[in-house]
């Protein structure tokens, strides 16, 4: 069953992500894809994440398909103009890539080619509109396509953004532009996320909660001080501190598993998106502890 069908069937879905490497050695990446095969429902492939130049998302999506894992093509507007984006979408379509996650993309200044010209000819809302249009057999200029695409398109949302309301206005624009599913930025406060879901449930979209494993109290503090749109509550930082250095990661895995279990058991959202960020081998452990394997 496709990711779209699984999501629409009402099953609690799990997605994870794979970050393409910088360079042509893909042994480790393939190991991670194989590790997650049959466990997750789909695998996001990041698009030059953090503006660091790597293998393109589309090629790795195709590799995922070759290894029997359904990919979600992450597509940012940072590096391609509207011609490049549409052309890549058509290319992805004929490579049988069905899911696309439309994002604006981190600024080039975040990455390793700071002198690059940032493009942003479009942004996430407009890119969703373009996907919708290609699905309807027309390009952005209104020209007919010989064969339409059939993408299942999603977007991202930041429930812990500060200020939140401008982000929610954008979220609603993304829904109107045709987003069918959302993967959220990492969330750590389930009660606050429940409040967000009360709002989000008013819209006909599927919501996957973002899960990022906390490795240590230091990492949690770093996130709170530096990463936009993520807030780790003090009680979790205390829990990690109390666990001590040796058991911090294990405690972080437990926290992730506990949150996933609660999200599923209380039917708070439609699934989770686990961002392991270099710890892909830990994803099955989290899923097991959450009772999903």
């Amino acid at each position: 069953m496709s990711f779209k069908d699984i999501l629409n069937s009402g099953k609690f879905v799990v997605t994870a992500e794979v970050g393409p490497p910088k360079g042509t050695d893909i042994k480790e990446m393939i190991h991670h894809i194989e590790l997650l095969k049959g466990k997750v429902d789909a695998l996001n492939v990041t698009d030059n994440q953090s503006a660091v130049m790597r293998i393109c998302s589309m090629a790795v999506c195709r590799i995922c398909l070759d290894h029997g894992v359904e990919p979600i093509l992450q597509m940012t507007c940072r590096d391609r103009n509207r011609i490049g984006l549409q052309s890549d979408l058509l290319g992805a379509s004929v490579l049988n890539i069905k899911n696309v996650l439309c994002m604006t993309g981190d600024h080039v200044l975040a990455g390793d080619h700071k002198q690059a010209k940032p493009v942003y000819d479009l942004e996430s809302v407009q890119l969703l509109g373009v996907v919708n249009s290609l699905n309807n057999g027309k390009d952005m200029s209104g020209n007919d396509l010989r064969g339409a695409t059939d993408f299942f398109q999603g977007a991202v949302v930041t429930p812990e953004a500060n200020p939140l309301e401008p982000q929610l206005i954008k979220f609603e624009k993304k829904v109107k532009a045709g987003a069918k599913f959302f993967q959220s930025q990492a969330i750590y406060d389930i009660n606050r996320f429940k409040e967000f879901m009360k709002y989000a449930r008013r819209f006909p979209v599927k919501m996957l909660a973002g899960i990022v494993v906390l490795k240590s109290a230091g990492m949690a503090n770093f996130i709170n001080n530096n990463v936009p749109g993520i807030r780790v509550p003090q009680e979790l930082i205390d829990e990690l501190k109390a666990a001590g250095k040796e058991k911090a990661l294990d405690t972080g895995l437990n926290i992730a598993a506990r949150h996933i279990k609660q999200l599923k058991d209380e039917n708070i959202c439609d699934g989770v998106h686990i961002m392991a960020i270099g710890m892909e081998d830990k994803v099955p452990i989290i899923m097991e502890r959450a009772g999903l394997l």
Binding site: T104, H107, P118, Y120, D121, V125, T158, Q167, K170, K173
Partner: protein
């Protein structure tokens, strides 16, 4: 106004090493407000050039250095000093430099400044970029704050995920353009309008360079006479 920044003397001298005598042209408009093309700037550069062993045959601050014909007329009384120089230095923006190139067909012309952006003066010699001259204004849709300019990504439909506590991911010194737009629209009680407006991708064909414009009335009748 056009914001200009003085080049470091070392970079300037690299261009000027093969010339001996210079005539300096400033501008009484933007470059004067920037302090890069006023009489003080001309005097200061004159001193620096002399210290490097160069000769300065004269200097002048025209009213509007980018106005080709007007500047040409204003420079007429300086013919002798201009003729004596073997190089013209323009202490305004790239437009001023190219006006001089048009006026002095047979003389080398070099810029002493880098032209940075179209800016507002917020305090004395402090400048902010507010307009990108994109060719199609959207300020009517964004509460009068330009996201094409104020957002490093120039995005048109709300903040990206990089906004932290109202600040931009590119720099904490930049307030998120879309938070500013949101706050202004809220103050004006126009949030619904903000929610309902989805801006389409910009038409960059309005921005094909070089752009030209004639706003004066056609004078075909007179020409016939």
């Amino acid at each position: 106004m056009i914001i200009t920044k003085k080049r470091e003397l070392q970079e300037l001298m690299e261009n000027l090493k093969n010339y001996k005598s210079f005539f300096l042209i400033g501008c009484s408009e933007c470059a004067s407000l920037c302090g890069t093309g006023n009489q003080e700037a001309i005097d200061s550069l004159t001193e620096s050039l002399k210290a490097e062993g160069k000769e300065v045959t004269g200097g002048f601050v025209p009213k509007t250095g980018c106005q080709v014909l007007g500047t040409k007329v204003e420079l007429k009384p300086f013919k002798e000093a201009l003729d004596k120089s073997d190089c013209i230095l323009v202490m305004s923006c790239g437009a001023g430099t190219q006006a001089a190139v048009e006026i002095f067909e047979d003389k080398p012309v070099y810029p002493t400044n880098d032209s940075l952006f179209l800016g507002n003066m917020t305090r004395f010699q402090m400048f902010d970029e507010r307009c990108s001259l994109c060719g199609k204004c959207i300020l009517d849709k964004t509460g009068g704050i330009c996201p094409v300019t104020a957002c490093p990504k120039g995005i048109l439909n709300g903040p990206c995920g990089g906004c932290k506590d109202g600040k931009c991911e590119v720099s904490p010194d930049i307030k998120c353009a879309w938070v500013r737009i949101y706050e202004r629209m809220k103050r004006l009680d126009k949030l619904q309008e903000l929610c309902d407006t989805v801006l389409e991708a910009k038409d960059w064909s309005q921005n094909i360079k070089p752009r030209t414009l004639a706003t004066r009335p056609e004078k075909k009748e007179e020409k016939k006479k």
